[in-house]
Subunit: 270 residues, 3 copies
Amino acid sequence: MQYIKKIREKTPLIHFITNYVTVNDVANAALAIGASPIMTDEINDAVDMQNICDALVINIGTLNERTVKTMIAAGKKANELGHVVVLDPCGVGATPYRNDVINKLLEEVKFDCIKGNISEIKAMANVASKTNGVDACEADKTTRENMHDVFKFAKELYKKTGAVIAITGPIDVIADDKYAYISDNGCKEMRNITGTGCMTAGIIAASLVANKENKLEASTAGVIILGLAGELANKYAKGTGTLHIGLIDELSNMNDDILEKGAKIERFEI
Amino acid sequence: MQYIKKIREKTPLIHFITNYVTVNDVANAALAIGASPIMTDEINDAVDMQNICDALVINIGTLNERTVKTMIAAGKKANELGHVVVLDPCGVGATPYRNDVINKLLEEVKFDCIKGNISEIKAMANVASKTNGVDACEADKTTRENMHDVFKFAKELYKKTGAVIAITGPIDVIADDKYAYISDNGCKEMRNITGTGCMTAGIIAASLVANKENKLEASTAGVIILGLAGELANKYAKGTGTLHIGLIDELSNMNDDILEKGAKIERFEI
Amino acid sequence: MQYIKKIREKTPLIHFITNYVTVNDVANAALAIGASPIMTDEINDAVDMQNICDALVINIGTLNERTVKTMIAAGKKANELGHVVVLDPCGVGATPYRNDVINKLLEEVKFDCIKGNISEIKAMANVASKTNGVDACEADKTTRENMHDVFKFAKELYKKTGAVIAITGPIDVIADDKYAYISDNGCKEMRNITGTGCMTAGIIAASLVANKENKLEASTAGVIILGLAGELANKYAKGTGTLHIGLIDELSNMNDDILEKGAKIERFEI
């Protein structure tokens, strides 16, 4: 495995249209793992920005009408240029507006990976199911017992969207139409810091740029890297403030040896 | 006292329309004390978001014409639904525009608590006094000598607005029309980190949701929790960076025992 | 040297129109060095805000059409009032839109200092050269070998803009039309945290307000203060997370003795 080595060698330039809550962490996490972040949500700037970038990450956390237009326009441009595009459907399901936006994004932009927690991914599937007929998923969180249902659900979504589906939670699931990885990395304390999901999307994008040959494994690496960094930081954190900072420290010190030793993954044929 | 236990049990979902300077800290502070934050300022999203939330916090720090409309619309919706609404009139008094916005907010939205430093609360009273006749307050900061003037001023504002008035400073004052609490918690070093006021507003909102029976005491608890967390962090902080992070650590470790032992409060009949 | 003493005595009130990625660090860095930050980008608020401020910092990192109008209007007002104005042409050169914005800003607003990395300053010169005929600069980064070319380039830009030119990098160059300072402060690890440039612009503004008699030396002090703080923090940082926090700690503990002992500067007549 040379996921991180390749990221650090390639230093992917990643354009983020992302929420203003966690944007600083997203930038610092991207830098820590060896990528180079740039943020812009002005349509006159963002479309052209794709010309010098390797990837686009769209996160709808603090969307507004202006920035949604930018997301769509920049997403189309990224698709034209063959760039990696990652979607974080942050908070989808919470309001009709978010659902509409996700619907439009899925219609207009092709994604390489879609990452969310299970309720976001299920809400996204519901939105998509209006036109696409995706089956509902009963699981509220992924467990050893229900994971095969989650795999089936993710596989179906992959078929509809063409995007690797990364479902984060106590057990993470990352799947395409052939295989699903599960990961036990991370720790429950990470739920109490904001931005872990947003950072994960950025690291997935970096990993996808640097490891183009296998989208599923590159996306899986992105999810594990963040989870492992938090897990390592949690060993010495004194609360959620130092966990937050330690997580960035661990990302900046991360390498493929640490990743290989720390990764808790299993692969399933699905 | 079970303020924090109740917050952690209830995990109030708090919608923030807040400034982009301190929004990450506001989210992490809310998570650290056991609440769940969601940020959106798009009018098509924010009004509906109230349907799934328990509270709304409005902070005008980096207001703009678009987000002010959202503040008013979401505020009205929160009032309709009987949700807790907290106002942080950040920077009011600095410009005529901020004064106009606060005037509109006070006209259109009913608040459970209004929290600011003394110059903000005085500026807000001046704005309100144009129509409401609130007396001026001479104090530039609350001291043991002038505190009864501050109590009287806060009491009058409570009567005009129906909101508990929380005036933060070296001595914090939290008052309704019957009682005023003062708190000596906090430390002067906290003035040199941004966001302590914004975080306080969020913690007040969480405390109000979880402790509905007594707004004055719930608001007071919110003010003390933040002050005490900073005070505890200041014992080992090496500068304002580690004070900032330590404050979040202390919030995440806070419980009612720590609060009860650390609270430096007095109550006055006013 | 009493740069920092003067900042802490004067506590300059600095208005930032800055990107939402690093705005929290910018505010905390300004507070840590003894200034007082206020952020607003609403045109109805920002122009009036200059009435109570000492300085304006414009950073185009996450510009949009609305905020660009505010930048120009607030910049003109700051010029009228004789306030310190600093430009951080963040990301100029990346897109035609950013170049247009910088062109407009240079036409409409007079700056006391313009701070960027060498590619930004070169891109800005290219933009300006369309109308002003600034020569190109060959250097990709400042070295001991090419620094006299960089000095000449900065001198020319100073003549065209009237602004002290601060070019940050492994070797920082700060120049007007008579002298150039170079600084070896800072460390390579700082490149892996976002916001060091944005924070530098704010500290330059604070230094310029407090040390009006010599713009070149005040700007130089601003650059060194940030570099030295990072350098000191890097001695004990365990990764980029603790470097980021340590940098703020060091800023909050900085004084003129530490600055004088730690400054690695040389002055050249140019």
